[in-house]
């Protein structure tokens, strides 16, 4: 089975790493505190019962010993809590502020139920839109500007950083950096309605040259139809219901209700990380999205087999 990276305990970047260290520190301290407290409880029961067996009524100097015992417990708790608080604040203060140098800025808008992704390059023609799959260069901090156009969502890629909410009316910033190339899965973490469970994203962390190649391929319009089948497919797309919601660069389809499909064929998954991007899955999704994601905003599409075939060929040509 494919190993999916979606874990707090396998950090692949500095933010997640320092949180992971904090977790292991807290876990060990907590385990010690737990064993000592529960141990004290059972020791107290055992020694009281032993005393009772031996006919002793009350331990000697009971009051003083209880006072010092409880006092020591409270004092130890204060120290442990303050140490933890200090460690925690040091992590929060060093890792939270966005680094001054962040070459890549990506705007993400949460939608029911997918991620609308725009690379906010300030150079002419540098800005482009995609969905659900985010490529980032390894070893560089990436800044995300998060908002929502419907309900509250939350972006969370545990291997890279903690989460941040996407709230309508607010723009929040989140940054992280991947140190190891790889695909890191993230999932919406704030309950956002019927398909909250199937609103995932993938972060593809690549060496800089590969990343640049990917950016170049995404920046242009969608591939124009090359043969009669893809031509027919484009026609089905533009004259059917698809174009009501989806956009493909270089065609009249420009609606932003659903995910941008300009380079659909280059993505690893469809339906916001729900299915691998294969011809069969794509066909099943187009015909009846409600079976895969009940409640999804996309309606079922009754297409002639020939039209469906042409549409699939066209969509698969959009590299």
């Amino acid at each position: 089975m494919l190993q999916v990276n979606q874990s707090v305990l396998h950090a692949a970047g500095p933010r997640a790493a320092s949180t992971e260290h904090l977790w292991w520190f807290a876990f060990i301290v907590a385990a010690v505190v737990y064993v000592l407290t529960v141990g004290a409880l059972f020791w107290a029961i055992a020694s009281a019962r032993r005393r009772e067996r031996e006919g002793e009524l009350r331990p000697e100097h009971a009051h003083d010993r209880m006072t010092s015992g409880v006092g020591a417990g409270i004092a130890a708790s204060v120290v442990i809590l303050l140490v933890f608080l200090g460690y925690d604040l040091s992590v929060a203060r060093t890792r939270d502020p966005v680094p001054k140098q962040h070459p890549v800025t990506i705007e993400i808008t949460g939608r029911q139920w997918f991620w609308d992704v725009t690379y906010a390059d300030t150079s002419p023609h540098g800005r482009f839109t995609t969905a659900n799959e985010i490529h980032i260069p390894v070893g560089q901090p990436v800044l995300f500007l998060l908002s929502s156009s419907d309900v509250i969502h939350s972006m969370w890629v545990p291997n890279l950083a903690g989460k941040k909410d996407l709230i309508p009316g607010y723009t929040q910033s989140l940054w992280f950096q991947a140190d190891t190339p790889g695909v890191y899965r993230g999932q919406c973490a704030e309950f956002c309605g019927e398909q909250h469970a199937k609103m995932a994203m993938e972060i593809v962390a690549q060496p800089l040259t590969e990343y640049r190649r990917w950016v170049a391929s995404q920046s242009g319009p969608g591939a124009p139809p090359a043969d009669s089948v893809t031509k027919r497919g484009q026609e089905v797309f533009l004259t059917g219901t698809c174009a009501m919601c989806h956009s493909i660069g270089g065609t009249p389809a420009g609606s932003h209700v659903g995910p941008d499909l300009s380079h659909l064929a280059s993505r690893r998954t469809i339906a916001a990380g729900s299915l691998p991007n294969t011809r069969g899955n794509l066909a099943g999704w187009i015909i009846d999205p409600q079976r895969i994601k009940p409640g999804a905003k996309m309606p079922p599409n009754m297409l002639e087999p020939k039209d469906l075939d042409a549409l699939l060929t066209y969509l698969q040509s959009l590299k």
């Binding site: 707090v8 997640a16 209880m66 417990g73 809590l81 929060a92 939270d96 029911q112 309950f191």
Partner: protein, 656 residues
Amino acid sequence: MSEQIVTSPLADLTTRPGLADEAELTELAVTWAPRPGFWGWLTSVDHKSIGKRYIVTSFIWFILAGLNAGLMRIQLSRPENGFMGPDRYNQVFTTHGTAMMFLFAVPVMTAFALYLVPLMVGARDLAYPRLNAFGYWVFLTGGLFLFISFYLNMGPNTGWFAYTPLSGPEFSPGKRVDVWAQVVTFTEIAGLVAAVEIVATIMKLRAPGMSLNRIPLYVWSVLVVSVMIIFAMPAVAMASTMMLAMDRLVATHFFNQAEGGDALLWQHMFWFFGHPEVYIMFIPGLGFISSIVETFTKRPVFGYPVMVLSMIVTGFVAFGLWVHHMFATPIPLLGRTFFTAASVLIALPTGAQIFCWIATIWSGRPRLATPMMFAIGFVVIFIIGGVTGVMIASVPFDLQVHDTYFIVAHFHYVILGGVVTPLFGACYLWFPKVTGRMLSERLGKWHFWLWFIGVNVTFFPMHILGLEGMPRRVYTYLPEMGWGNLNLLVSAGAVVVVASVAVFVINVLVSWRSGVVAGPDPWGGPTLEWAAASPPLPWNFHHVPVVEGRSPMWEEAGDLPIVEGLATHKREMLVTTALDAVPDSRHDLPEESIWPFIMAVAVAATFIPAIYTPWAYPAGLVIGVIAFAGWAWPRGRHPKHQVTAGRIPRTEPEPT
């Protein structure tokens, strides 16, 4: 001070009529006689009768909401399971959370207090008995409304927290969220009136001599939470009844950012209530543990001032934590730091109390009866939830596990460990007081061990699932996520929890009919409720006891002073001063009345139709005014007393 006391002389005095004045007793019996039959049940204002039905009702909601948890565990037991679709699943988890929080955890604690507090402070009844009856009927309405809606497939589906804008008119059309908002209205009304009654009872109706520093720790715990309820619940009642319901009914746009509202405002108002809510459930659990520990070690809990101050401090600091539910929202670092510090440090007072109990056990003579097993189980289970609570006070760590199964594990450890486990212990401790019969110890041990194993097997693996990236509130997950095996284990644990609760229910049903007869003081308890008969007579105590220490049943053995002179020909009780509990005045209690029930009908007739039309408010107001007039109408003297021989009715003005 003797430690050998098992049944106190006071208990004899109050249960054996020969020692009290025969004529007085006959008259008390006439004065306090409950009305018979269904009408009597409908009109009862006795805190014991209402407390009992309150407890039973909230346990019914507990079982129904628990069955919902079972449905969730079936659905999640394997990846891509087709047992339920997302729409059904979202209703199931929303109803589970809403019922557990609003209909079980808080009300059951209130219900125990309504039953126990008058007995523990030596009073004849609760302050405002009719308000108490009203509160129960409103609470019942809320529960019925939620579950009937759920079973009719119109249950709320936006989570027990109902975040806007998801719960707003645009993204949740239909009436489901309105059901949720009005269930909250009903439960908050019930919670608020109960809190007011409890505060008044504890401040003004304590037995003479029970100064503030002699109040039983359990009574302190409910005093603290009742004050908390009075401050916390209006926030959510305002947010749901007024702002959310109005947004949905008449488009007020409080939470609609497109029209100048604010989506985050809801979260602040909800969690300003929601976080204190956790301590509102939890602090009475601490009170239960104190009662159990002192009863079963035969020692007063060590460090009384530390215990009381800890509960009060917890009550205060609980209001400074709510933002830790919102660390992923735009709150500046400095602001978050404040809430982190408060969330870390609130562990201290609870830790101090645990240390005090351990010291008490060490110096005492612990007897491992079932309630004590639950008290020990409480420490062992709860501390896991406590330490993870400190961890998630940390902003960076919380942002990793917030809204994941780690949090689900954390708060189930806190609530099942810190609320439900003490609650089960309390059931075994006070069942004999309420019913006159003991719960079976053998079934009790089975109950305990199944519970202990079930809770840990169910909830411990959830920590790992959360760390492995599994978010909350998902109706399914993909096979390649690798969460399948742990989820199956969790579901298996849930079966054990269900078995444990089933054993408890069987134990209660069997013991209620045919348990061993308990007598007034089966455990040799320290506090005044053990001086009353089991079950207590409608007037609780023949004579109001006088208290000279914190453990009157131990200290005053053989010679418990009493107050005489309270009228027996009418329902009268003694009012004492707030600090020192010096007798202050006498106060008449009302007779049975149907008006609380009618008032509750008026509330239901307002808020349920208000889901559909704003005209429900003026219509409901009319019924409410009629009910209020009936409630406040001056009453003549009860005819029962015309036949009472040997006593001339006094001609005092009737209380209003």
